[in-house]
Amino acid sequence: MEAFLHQVFSGLANGAIYASLALALVMIYQSTHHINFAQGEMAMFSTYLAWAMINAGYPYWIAFGLTVVASFFIGLTIERVIVRRVAGAPILTLVVVFIALLVILNSITGWIFTYTIKVFPSPFPEQPLFGPYISSHEAGVVGVSLVVLLLLFLFFRFTTLGLAMRATAENALSSRLSGIRVGWMLALGWGLAASIGAIAGMMVAPIVYLDPNMMSGILLYGIAAALMGGIDNPFGAVVGGLIVGVLENLMGAYVVGTELKLTVALMLIIGVLIFKPTGLFGRHFVTRV
């Protein structure tokens, strides 16, 4: 029973990270119907920025804050410079552009920071503070994710800018007609997504260690989480993330063994897409001829 509870709690912690990444994916999907394959690599790059700052002697939380801000501007720039130009292009073109971003970010990081695996510090204490079933880092990850969620909720619910962004996602044309600068709202969405991804990266790096390919598996779980919750529903992404995290851990511990964990994500993705493409909380869309 203890082992089981331990698996569940560490699954929740992983799930919180997947939820953040899923949230970033949903943020971009909601407004532009693009699935950003480079989301994981953007997060990885941000994490390296944080690592460089911490190594340069900045305190952890300062580096954390600076990274979140820097990632915001990186995301914003990518949208304004590259993604903007292919906004209405066929899906294949979009996929190719995102793949290009993925490999460029991956190799630039490898170029600057080399491919050797690095240790990334955790801001949370070594000894468990919250009982025997969950380490402090895991508890901290869940806490940070909850804070991020709360802030996002407050932003979208109670600020004019948040309202404008929601309106853009809902109906871009009408928003434009009522004076919202749709283009900038989309860029802001990219910026926010990059920031959320950066937080996910910094939270997962102490667990998986820092290397340029660290996010490929995490991205897969993030995608599974986003699809499970319904790719256009932020709330669903969080629930999906937690479900995927726990499911992954339990399946890994009791059913398929740790070596086939990624295959669980593959099965989840394909299963959801086939049997319930809208996910648990997604909206149904009717396509017109």
């Binding site: 119907h33 693009h34 699935i35 394959f37 590259i82 130009r85 292919v86 899906i91 294949l92 073109t93 979009l94 996929v95 190719v96 552009v97 793949i99 290009a100 971003l101 993925l102 490999v103 460029i104 991956n106 190799s107 630039i108 990081t109 490898g110 170029w111 491919y115 490929s216 598996g217 897969l220 995608i223 599974a224 699809l227 063994g257 070596e259 086939l260 964990k261 990624l262 295959t263 994500a265 593959l266 993705i269 394909i270 897409l273 086939i274 493409p277 001829v289």
Partner: protein, 333 residues
């Protein structure tokens, strides 16, 4: 459409290309022969992927998985069952056809981004499946399988590398001829119609589901044949040779070479074989940076790839040649 109509000049160009390909192993060093052999292997895989993605519009970011299955089928048959190398190629193709056909069923329900996602997931999780302990007896686990290079038959006076190259060339020519026949016929037109407007295609009586799953199967068959040849050429298979980046480099190959173009896959194969080698000299990270930059450049500047550029230049040259000839005849009369 490129490669569909055969006129005299085109036939001559193809003839010269085949002749050059035949003579190549006898004029370059054995390492270059090995490299060009891989170009042939990649060309076969890219041809299959281009049928699926370029002609049929189904995006696959996981063709490395079928390539891996083909390679493993060949390696296991040679190493564990003692099957001769040439017999493993069609067998690998068949196994992959079935695998692709089965994957094509769920793919039917997935459009655009979603299919890209599902195949992306397939590509990422493939190495883990190959490392799986339960299959270790067959796959050799993390260590992989080492296979022996075949000897040239009939007492031919060519080296092993040269023979393998010629064998791959025969297979490649056959696969190209097959693809050309599929694509210019009824099925090929149905594939393009489904890509351009699935609903209209269905209204015209095309069985969309059948054509799409069949295309997936055939495309996987090409990847499997390429994988089997690749395994024999490299003499080694291991899970870590089939990471997700392999699938991505295949996609890069067809985008650079030219989507929906038969000749384009050759340019694409040359690109993914040689450009990383050249870029590697700058830095370990450089190949992928170069890949990414080329991808962006081609998407924005030359969406039809190298094949499109070649066709453009060819058309211009032909037009100017005709013009000068027309001027000459008017002057004479």
């Amino acid at each position: 459409m490129d490669g569909m109509h055969v006129n005299k000049t085109r036939l001559i160009v193809i003839g010269i290309a085949v002749l050059v390909a035949f003579l190549l192993p006898f004029v370059v060093g054995s390492y270059r022969v090995f490299q060009f052999n891989l170009v042939l292997v990649y060309a076969i895989v890219l041809l299959g992927l281009n049928m699926l993605t370029g002609y049929n519009g189904q995006i696959s970011l996981g063709h490395g998985a079928f390539y891996a299955i083909g390679a493993y089928v060949a390696a296991i048959m040679m190493d564990k069952l003692g099957v001769p190398y040439w017999a493993t190629v069609p067998a690998a193709g068949l196994v992959c056809f079935v695998a692709g056909f089965l994957f094509g069923f769920p793919a039917l329900r997935l459009h655009g981004h979603y299919l890209a996602l599902a195949t992306f997931a397939l590509g990422i999780s493939m190495p883990q499946i190959l490392k799986y302990k339960g299959l270790e007896h067959w796959t050799g686990g993390v260590q992989g399988i080492v296979i022996l290079k075949p000897q040239a038959p009939f007492g031919l006076n060519v080296s092993q590398d040269q023979w393998l190259y010629l064998f791959s060339l025969f297979v490649a020519l056959f696969m190209f001829w097959l693809a050309w026949n599929i694509l210019r016929g009824r099925i090929g037109r149905a594939m393009v119609a489904i890509r351009d407007h699935p609903i209209a295609a269905e209204a015209m009586g095309i069985n969309v589901a059948a054509v799409k799953t069949l295309t997936f199967g055939v495309s996987a068959l090409y990847a499997g044949v390429g994988g089997a040849l690749g395994a024999i050429v490299v003499q080694f298979v291991a899970p870590d040779s089939f990471v997700a980046l392999v699938s991505i480099s295949f996609l890069i190959g067809i985008v650079i070479g030219g989507l929906a173009s038969i000749s384009g896959v050759i340019y694409g194969a040359i690109f993914i074989q040689f450009v990383p080698n050249i870029a590697d000299e700058i830095s370990k990270a450089a190949p992928w940076a170069v890949y990414g930059l080329f991808l962006l450049a081609f998407v924005f500047l030359a969406p039809k790839g190298v094949a499109g550029l070649v066709q453009l230049l060819w058309g211009k040259a032909e037009a100017s040649w005709k013009r000068t000839r027309a001027q000459k005849t008017t002057l004479q009369s």
